[in-house]
């Protein structure tokens, strides 16, 4: 067991997309420093439920940093102040006794609020649906080394494939752009031979969908790279830019 913390939480409460929201203040005692941020919210919700109040709505699933469900702005940082960490993997030992923690939902027009800290990220899914896959028959597993892939490309594709689609990049972007997300999804396929047959169509249609959803335009602030829980690099955005120009020229 870790140490115990007393905390003041200011959490954004909003009944629905149309309702008016506001910050509510809650006091918590005896929060274990070994608890994760979402476990701390569980404790709060239990207290609220016992007091006959509405618990705070927030989304989690795996709680091990791999599904991309969780996420909120914590003291102004998407997923909290620790680098390469999802909200569910953020631990309370990062905070001090008597800290005030402000929790606000991710905000972007293309990711509208549903309730409290829960947002609708189906816009990200619709971008994937436009080409974030390979539709050619790949057959059974090929013999080892029959398709040669440069080590650097394999590594870069794997790095891009780490994206869990949490939306933190768009949330932290001053322009609410989903550029790092789309870049990761385009990159992971553009770097591998399996992705090549549909290369131009993929980038063109995914980007059109991204624009249609109402995400902003990247202005190279690189805030996304800082908050990405998977450490996805903005070199993927440069690759996306290149792929798009390539699709125009071909």
């Amino acid at each position: 067991m870790g140490k115990k913390l007393a905390l003041t939480l200011k959490i954004w409460r909003q009944e629905s997309n149309k309702a008016k929201g506001k910050f509510e203040t809650y006091k918590l005692k005896d929060i274990d420093t070994d608890a994760s941020f979402v476990e701390m919210l569980d404790v709060l919700n239990e207290e609220l439920a016992l007091a006959g109040k509405q618990p705070v709505a927030f989304e989690t699933d795996c709680r091990e940093g791999i599904c991309g469900c969780c996420g909120a702005m914590v003291n102004g940082h998407a997923h909290g102040p620790q680098r390469e960490t999802t909200l569910c993997q953020l631990h309370m030992r990062l905070f001090e006794n008597n800290d005030t923690i402000i929790v606000e939902p991710f905000r972007a027009k293309a990711m509208p609020l549903i309730k409290d800290l829960i947002i609708d990220r189906s816009s990200l899914t619709r971008i994937i649906a436009k080409g974030g896959y390979v539709s050619v028959r790949t057959g059974s597993a090929p013999d080892a080394n029959s398709i040669l892939i440069r080590k650097e490309n394999a590594e870069a594709a794997m790095d891009a494939a780490q994206c869990i689609g949490c939306g933190a990049c768009a949330a932290a972007c001053p322009n609410a752009a989903a550029m790092l997300y789309t870049a990761a999804k385009v990159s992971q396929l553009a770097l591998l031979p399996q992705g090549h047959p549909e290369r131009e169509k993929r980038v063109s249609e995914m980007l059109t969908q991204m624009d249609k959803e109402g995400f902003g335009n990247c202005s190279n602030s690189y805030e996304c790279e800082i908050v990405c829980p998977k450490g996805i690099s903005v070199t993927n955005i440069a690759r996306l830019n290149k792929e798009y120009l390539r699709a125009l020229l071909n």
């Binding site: 606000e104 972007a108 932290a172 609410a176």
Partner: protein, 221 residues
């Protein structure tokens, strides 16, 4: 892909802004700085440079028209981009959002750009259009042409301060501009990112220092 689709897409617009920006750096800002620096070599050298420009006649007009086109493209596409970006977060954050110091110049781009545009209008009015009104060219009792005009205008402390401020803004704009344009056009390979960023800061700083050195020269003389 159709060209119309490219132009209306977010990446298309960005790349057009990046390209026109790079062109302006290469054929407008840098030559302009080099030309202006001739002032440090004295009245004769500077007026010689002005004369050389004038002697280009028709060619100069074509080049100027090209500058104007690049500026218009750069500005129009930026305005579209900025309005779209503003709309993309229709409901703003209510708490303070942390931002990286390195993104300061980036976030300021629309504002520094707008200030530069205002300056450009004033500057054009001052130098290019106002031609050489005889009285403003007289510096210390001597008609020194354009050189005299520059020295006279820097005798006014407001102008001098304003000019120095604008050059800081230009430097800030350029310090983000170069690396950003290279990223957008994928001319900044991953492994050299650090060096390209450094180059971008270097460009910003040297343009500011270059233009400000002219002010210092004017004050000293």
């Amino acid at each position: 892909m159709k060209i119309s689709k490219y132009i209306s897409s977010s990446i298309g617009k960005k790349q057009i802004i990046a390209f026109s920006g790079l062109v302006l750096i290469a054929i407008f800002i840098l030559p302009h700085l080099l030309g202006n620096l001739q002032i440090l070599r004295g009245a004769q050298a500077f007026n010689g440079y002005a004369k050389l420009l004038h002697s280009m006649g028709f060619v100069l007009e074509i080049i100027e028209a090209f500058f104007a086109l690049m500026f218009v493209v750069h500005i129009v596409f930026t305005i579209i981009l900025v309005t779209e970006n503003f709309r993309a977060r229709s409901i703003r954050y209510k708490s303070a959002i942390a931002s990286e110091p390195r993104s300061f110049a980036s976030r300021m781009m629309p504002y520094t750009g707008a200030i530069i545009l205002l300056f450009l209008v004033v500057h054009l009015y001052d130098f290019a259009f106002a031609k050489e009104a005889a009285t403003s060219c007289v510096w210390r009792g001597e008609d020194l042409g354009l050189y005299g005009m520059v020295m006279n205008s820097f005798a006014n402390p407001w102008r001098l301060g304003g000019y120095a401020f604008i050059m800081l803004i230009v430097g800030l704009h350029l310090s983000h501009a170069l690396q950003s344009a290279l990223q957008t056009l994928n001319l900044r390979p991953g492994r050299y990112v650090f060096w390209f960023n450094l180059l971008s800061y270097f460009l910003g700083i040297s343009v500011t220092v270059g233009f400000v050195s002219i002010i210092i020269y004017a004050v000293v003389h």
